[in-house]
């Protein structure tokens, strides 16, 4: 002990090989896992630029011998991708915006207003988080069906093959309400008092003071909603049957059958379906990760 205590002031830091080897070993573990995790993406993108034969060569070539960017236009022309993308973008953006509006209004009421039945209503909202989607799937499907016969005893909306069937059921989520409420609670009361003295009502205070302060929380909640909507598969699969309203995920699933042995085209299509959400994630990673760390939601 005492020897070391004397050695340090002499200037040179003690140089030990052990931590270095440890650090290198750590990096090796992290790199190996990163390569395994990233390989499917690498494989997808490189295969999308190969020709028919090279795409199915075994073992796969690490890099295309010749770049074939025309695979993308080829894949694009084989299915109504433009339509699929318009559908998905319209649905995802609508769901995200409308859901944020309902969430902010409800969260504000829970966080900053006094009314009877608040506790009970809050508990009921909390309970909806525990209802798994599977439990409600069949009645929700029946609710959307077109004919009164199909849902004797239950009301019918007749929404198969529409946009609203993919939007309306998802524009309120207890999860987003809780996330926003948590954030609204942290806004100091003094601000509310000052706003009231200045004659601002609740809506005015929410719009011009609370919301601008809550932008990080809004981005987080919005991203989680958008991600879920962009990747939605099971629900649109059962309530849409025409390309006119089908989203990209269902379109890609159908394209897997159509593409058959044209594997390079399937990889090109997968790449352009995945690319927008990956780019969005790279830009806004911080907010998404924060939201997940804070709430523990698992899509």
């Amino acid at each position: 002990m005492s020897e070391r205590a004397i050695a340090i002031p002499r200037g040179l830091p003690r140089f030990s090989a052990r931590p270095r080897i440890g650090a290198i070993a750590k990096h090796i573990v992290l790199i190996v896992v990163a390569l395994i995790v990233a390989y499917p993406f690498y494989f997808m993108v490189t295969s999308s630029f190969k020709d028919t034969l090279e795409a199915i060569r075994t073992p796969p070539t690490l890099f295309p011998n010749e770049l074939h960017p025309e695979n993308y236009t080829d894949a694009w022309s084989r299915a109504p991708w433009g339509r699929y993308f318009v559908n998905t973008i319209f649905v995802s953006v609508s769901v995200t915006i409308l859901e944020l509006i309902t969430a902010c209004l409800a969260a504000y009421a829970f966080a900053r207003m006094k009314f009877r039945g608040k506790g009970i209503l809050f508990t009921i909202f909390l309970a909806t988080l525990m209802i798994p989607g599977e439990a409600t799937l069949i009645p929700k499907y029946v609710l959307m069906s077109p004919s009164k016969v199909a849902c004797a005893g239950l009301p019918c909306l007749g929404w198969f093959d529409t946009y609203q069937v993919q939007i309306v059921p998802f524009i309120a989520s207890a999860f987003s309400i809780f996330l926003m409420r948590q954030f609204f609670l942290s806004i100091p009361n003094e601000l509310a008092d000052a706003a009231r003295i200045d004659g601002a009502g609740h809506l005015r205070f929410l719009w011009s003071i609370v919301l601008p302060l809550s932008i990080p929380a809004l981005i987080t909640a919005g991203l989680i909603t958008f991600l879920g909507s962009w990747n939605a598969f099971q629900w649109p699969l059962i309530v849409t049957s025409k390309p006119d309203f089908r989203p990209v995920q269902v379109g890609l699933s159908a394209f897997r059958q159509e593409a058959g042995s044209s594997y390079h085209l399937l990889m090109a299509a997968s790449t352009f379906v995945v690319a927008p959400i990956v780019l969005l994630f790279l830009v806004a990673q911080r907010y998404l990760v924060q939201g997940i760390a804070r709430t523990g939601i698992r899509g």
């Binding site: 650090a23 750590k26 990096h27 992290l30 990163a34 995790v37 990233a38 390989y39 499917p40 993406f41 997808m44 075994t58 073992p59 509006i101 309902t102 209004l105 009421a109 207003m113 006094k114 009314f115 009877r116 909806t128 525990m130 209802i131 798994p132 989607g133 599977e134 439990a135 409600t136 799937l137 069949i138 009645p139 029946v142 849902c151 004797a152 005893g153 239950l154 059921p169 998802f170 524009i171 309120a172 609740h202 991600l227 598969f233 995920q249 269902v250 890609l252 897997r256 594997y263 990889m267 379906v273 990956v278 969005l280 994630f281 990673q285 998404l288 990760v289 760390a293 804070r294 523990g296």
Partner: protein, 329 residues
């Protein structure tokens, strides 16, 4: 002749704020009511009827007993799918948690490239299972797949992966000329592939949760341990693991519930059939088949309700135990 005091008497003030609050809540209440709460109640109602597209006779608990023991076709299907579902959980969750925990522990220390690692691990989580399946189909292809090339390097013969109904232990044992009894065969190789893809998908998510848990552990514990001369292994097993136990438990239940209710992963990797030889047909796939391919809504609703009860049980256990805070063990 109106007495003046009537006018002057303080009128009961309208609870303006309460009305406004309910107006604020109205959209959420309507949507959650119509598309969450009402369907949950309706599901139970439907499960009590014979209901094949149109409502039929009242059956009481008949749909439930059909699944549990009464029907010679339904109930073997049910027990098989339940066992497949739990096998899927067992072969996914512990491995997923172990890998995520180790990686989070490594990433938690200050090091170069931490952000890049995290981004890479996280990418699969934002990728849909549909796109992932298109790629993994090829990576695990019996003829063209890279995985067969890789295991070939280690002297293992090519496998049929997603087309392979035989159990993984059965395959491993037969390589040594041993024949295992059927109950020891293990999950089909196809289900193992689905587990691996599921782990790939959720790994980054689990890492994020573990990193949040690690940052909640006070540095003082580590400093005290170092002063007492603890080595890194002791610090990990005696400090990090016990203090991280609430997080680990949370991740364990959330991941288990996630796998119990997962649909996309199994559906897209088996093209919707739960094959080969039904070895990957989970309860959610059986619900889907019953309700949307056979149009048996009543039976499907009953099955979904049974799954819901199992999931609620997991949730309640989570609340109970986390409420008590698993900690020093």
């Amino acid at each position: 002749m109106i007495p003046t005091n009537v006018r002057a008497s303080p009128r009961r003030r309208l609870p303006i704020e309460a009305i406004q609050a309910w107006l604020f809540l109205l959209p959420a209440v309507v949507i959650l009511g119509v598309f969450q709460i009402f369907p949950a109640i309706a599901a139970f109602y439907m499960s009590l009827f014979k209901w094949d597209v149109v409502q039929g006779a009242f059956r009481g608990l008949g749909n439930y007993t059909d699944w549990l023991y009464d029907n010679a076709i339904r109930s073997p299907d049910f027990w098989r799918s339940l066992s497949t579902t739990f096998t899927y959980v067992i072969f996914t969750v512990p491995l997923e948690i172990a890998i995520a925990l180790v990686l989070a522990y490594l990433l938690f220390q200050k090091m170069r490239g931490r952000g890049i690692y995290r981004t890479v691990y996280y990418l699969p989580y934002v990728t849909s299972f549909v796109a992932a399946a298109a790629v993994f189909f090829w990576v695990f292809h019996p003829t063209y797949g890279l995985v067969n090339d890789v295991i070939g390097v280690f002297g293992i013969g090519p496998q049929r992966w997603l087309d392979e109904p035989s159990g993984i232990f059965e395959i491993a044992a037969s390589a040594f000329g041993v024949t295992l009894p059927t109950w020891l065969a293990g999950p089909s190789l196809a289900l193992v592939v689905i587990s691996l893809v599921t782990i790939w998908h959720y790994l980054g998510y689990q890492i994020v949760i573990f990193l949040a848990g690690l940052s909640n552990i006070s540095q003082e514990f580590y400093e005290a341990a170092r002063l007492d001369g603890a080595n890194e292994r002791q610090i990990f097993t005696k400090i990090t693991l016990p203090l991280l136990s609430p997080t680990t438990f949370f991740v364990f239940t959330v991941a288990s519930i996630g796998v119990l209710r997962s649909f996309d992963s199994v559906y897209v990797l088996t093209n919707g059939f739960g094959g080969p030889l039904d070895t990957t047909r989970t309860v959610t796939l059986l619900v889907f088949k019953t309700a949307f391919q056979q149009a048996q809504f009543g039976l499907g609703a009953a099955l979904a309700f049974i799954l819901t009860l199992i999931i609620l049980l997991f949730t309640l256990i989570q609340f109970r135990i986390l409420g008590r805070r698993v900690n020093y063990g």
